[in-house]
Symmetry: C2
Subunit: 200 residues, 2 copies
């Protein structure tokens, strides 16, 4: 019987704010084994319910600067006034151990990670319309009006860059979007590019 | 609401004899719209139940030679003493019209088509073991012993080339293999590489 040994796959998931990418990833992880969120570092304060080391690695500006100086980040960027970065070592260790990862990241950072890891898989989650982004952001109730306006403008700029990603996943119907993301994960897991060894 | 216009995808499906690739493709076409078999030309005589123009374009050696001379074939090869070829124009016309195609082809031809169409998607269907190929070929009851031996040897050579394909699809359990092929089709249909236009 055939046996396969493969490296883990890094799925780089990006979207304009309010496209619903994080909820889709969570639902996929409930349906599929062997895939988890990569944990980013950030200087932004935790939101209610967020857990340090699980949702984010919450660090001070000084600590973040040290990570930059030690080349410990695959990428980092300032978004909406806060620093966000992707610690390199956990990505390499986990994918080397055959574990697949979702990296939930802004478009700016996604471009850097996709270049840094040529075998990573870029997925851009597209909301069905700008009106829907507007509604979803307002529905959260966490944004001030000027912040909301800034996020809508950013969304338009980000959407213009979807061609940088391998996949364009439309999030119109949530269940369909989850099924579509599962198809991408299931398909990518069959790629020969990730195979290290095949015994037969 | 977002609308997408994309080119059709050419899925180049190859496998050692007896791996079950044709049955998998048929089952996928029952579950998914907008995908059909590309029709190859061949000089081999029709088997019972095969329909000209549907299963194959059955042609004489002379007619086949004319197709070669007129550059009408994307590839052609001699396999087990018969000529097989892939007419170019229907592939281009159908994918240009946004229709997806399964090209059911031997490994030798698959390599040529994958080079000819850089956006085509190579899928190698792998039987779970050599023993299974042996059993499946004998089960068909259509092969003479020397023919059977020749096909087993060819299968081993073909398997050694699986890295030429994008996907390695294991056909151990038939229903799982059909689901896996559906995932590949569903995922590929979300690729940005095939998009011609996006309205938003």
């Amino acid at each position: 019987m055939i046996k396969r040994n493969r490296v883990g796959i890094l799925f780089v998931i990006s979207a304009p704010s309010g496209a619903g990418k994080t909820s889709i990833c969570r639902a996929v992880m409930e349906k599929r084994e062997g895939i988890s969120f990569s944990v980013s570092a950030t200087t932004r304060p935790p939101r209610q319910g967020e857990v340090n080391g699980k949702d984010y690695l919450f660090v001070s500006r000084d600590e973040f600067q040290q990570m930059i100086d030690r080349d410990e980040l695959a990428e980092w960027a300032e978004v909406h006034g806060n620093l966000y970065g992707t610690p390199l070592l956990p990505l390499v260790k986990k994918t080397d151990a055959g574990e697949d990862l979702f990296l939930d990241i802004d478009v700016q950072g996604a471009g850097k990670v996709l270049s840094y890891f040529p075998n990573s898989v870029g997925i851009f989650v597209m909301p069905p319309s700008i009106q829907v982004i507007h509604q979803r952001l307002k529905g959260r109730g966490t944004e001030r009006p000027d912040e909301l306006e800034r996020r809508i403008s950013a969304a338009k700029r980000e959407i213009a860059q979807f061609h940088m990603f391998h996949y364009l996943l439309l999030n119109d119907d949530f269940e369909q979007a989850v099924a579509d993301m599962c198809s991408i994960v299931d398909a990518e897991r069959q790629k020969t590019a990730y195979l290290r060894e095949v015994w037969w």
